[in-house]
Symmetry: C3
Subunit: 266 residues, 3 copies
């Protein structure tokens, strides 16, 4: 591969040397690899959050990018390390459902159980496979090793149950908050396409948005709002989001992941 | 450009994938771009802090570096995206005053309103222009596209009001705290050159420094101090700063940005 | 050097522009340098933590990597800047003991007092030598300048007192907690080799592990545990560690660095 990009998404945080160690391994095997951090701020062991983070970001990267995810509460157990190839990307990580949001977005998908242990680092521990398995596999893959050399195809890879919005009666979409960003903006699982397909396009202004039992006004961008109230908009990923202008909606209104939200259609 | 460097300064933090997404966009357009994070830890929507951060860092980068800043509370509104060129650098970001501290430090300055939307990403949202406008513009610029292709010159770009120290009477400089760093060191807007021009050079030992109504002893470096008291020095950017050795001056003494300070000249 | 890697380990955090500034300096001197962050999350002024972080990570990097460490409470004082070369790596940083854990792991070691000030940046301050001394020295070294040009050999470089486990009586190893990671896992200074040399290999299952006066069960990997109790294992660096599965052992049990632990041999 020319200019191979390897992205990293982990829950390793920014305090410990774990991410730096993985980068050392990768660059030792393939000095030409270009490593890009998506984030290391995934909440510890939060597979759902990692899955969503990857959904938000994977498509912005170049063809043939290798997306490496290490959010791995089952590290060392019998859960399998997997490698996937789609029409555009490679994915490497634990078989714990972390790719559940991106695999369905691909037209072609081949998933392998990584078993070629001669590519692994020789280390005793079974607690840091980001270093011992995933980083070296990503590096060798970026050097052009054929993916079939890393293991055998599987079809029973793990799928997370993704909360999808539900139509209740004829005119209500029930959804929930699925992500809260640094700014306290609370993203829901209700996509603008879902609203459009039920109401016709460009109808956001006609719908009513509900959270915590209150009807929330609908806007297009943050600074349209002049006060400190709670508002809704369609965010940059196409999802319904609640926000406070220059404030923290999640903290101010005690909104958490899982909070129920509703959209009333006209 | 050879070895084009693009620096990133944002308030996106380290939890969300927003920075990684911008890097994906940039590298997709220009795989040769070298991206350097200045920081993503700017306080949310804090334009002044971003302006100061850029002032502290921009000159350490190579000639032709592209400095991209995304601290953008007005995203999606009519505030303009701008691109500036000086004798040494390029600057890209929102027209909200974030470049108010660096533009005056340049001898030559041309500011353009970015209007060439065929370089933008095709996305619906108006809430993440770091991805949709600024990252692609920086990437295309780094590939050598002439800057005049991106928009038309403007002169009415926004300027922040920067708090400057004032001479009160004949022998007092009134200033204020403008930045608090990770260590709790509190940097003021009183520059050593300001003190020198009023007192003659090398006279820091003769001045008195005041904060919270107390006179604070003056030192040259942190570990000169052997106790846990509050002290002052001229910091590595030339500004008067208050510190506690191996401690957090801001937290211990409740010092915030905006706190008034004084220097009494001999 | 081809593909010179410079790693950075600092206590500068992720809020301020200090790390970005150092990268700007390095790339201005050597655009071919590849900079890798090990971490910037070392606790402020915590030399011991930096020393341990470096021990955990340095060997995963390629031959000839330059490891640059800036955790430097004595910055500006008479403490010396040093440069070291071993059979595999270069090390640059303050002479404050930060390399005390890695120097003894090398077979060959030459330490120089950096005195070649013509390589330094010309700056007044004596509070940010990461920018003014260490970054430029690392960059010039990465360009192939002979190390003997940077200063003269010394042998009296500072050594930290490293807490080593003690054998008490004939069957107890007394150790202590030396590191707590992002997940709250508490790493001790008792290495599996220490246990093995006293008991014969593969005997972890026969030993008893003690902390806070309680005997703690021994496991191999985290998800072996099905409850929320405190457990021990040998971690990925070979050290005895206490953990709670999907929980934070340090916070839950109030374990801090320095907490005494014991291993009872059979």
């Amino acid at each position: 591969m020319d200019n191979p990009i390897i992205t990293l998404t982990t829950d390793f945080g920014y305090k410990d040397p774990f991410v730096g160690i993985m980068k050392g391994i990768i660059l030792d095997i393939n000095p030409a690899a270009k490593i890009v951090d998506i984030t290391h701020g995934i909440s510890p062991q939060n597979i759902s959050e990692a899955a969503l983070t990857l959904e938000m970001s994977f498509k912005t990267f170049s063809h043939n990018t290798i997306h490496l995810v290490v959010v791995d509460p089952g590290v060392g157990s019998a859960r399998r390390p997997i490698l996937a190839i789609t029409e555009d990307y490679f994915f490497i990580g634990p078989d714990n459902g972390v790719f559940s949001r991106v695999f369905p977005l691909s037209e072609r998908l081949l998933v392998l159980h990584i078993t070629a242990s001669h590519y692994f680092l020789k280390k005793d521990g079974s607690t840091f496979q980001g270093r011992d398995i995933f980083a070296p596999i990503a590096a060798w893959l970026s050097k052009g090793i054929e993916i079939t050399n890393f293991g055998d195809p599987i079809t029973d890879f793990k799928k997370l149950s993704i909360p999808s919005p539900q139509l209740t009666g004829t005119n209500v979409i029930d959804g929930e908050v699925i992500y809260i960003d640094r700014f306290g903006n609370t993203m829901t699982n209700i996509h603008t396409e879902k609203i459009s397909e039920m109401t016709g396009s460009n109808s956001e202004n006609k719908i009513k948005v509900l959270i915590k039992g209150k009807e929330i006004p609908f806007k297009t961008y943050y600074s349209q709002v002049k006060d400190t109230g709670l508002y809704a908009l369609i965010n940059s990923f196409g999802y319904l989001e609640f926000f406070i202008r220059n404030g923290n909606a999640a903290r101010t209104h005690g909104i958490k992941v899982g909070e129920k939200v509703g959209v009333m259609l006209p």
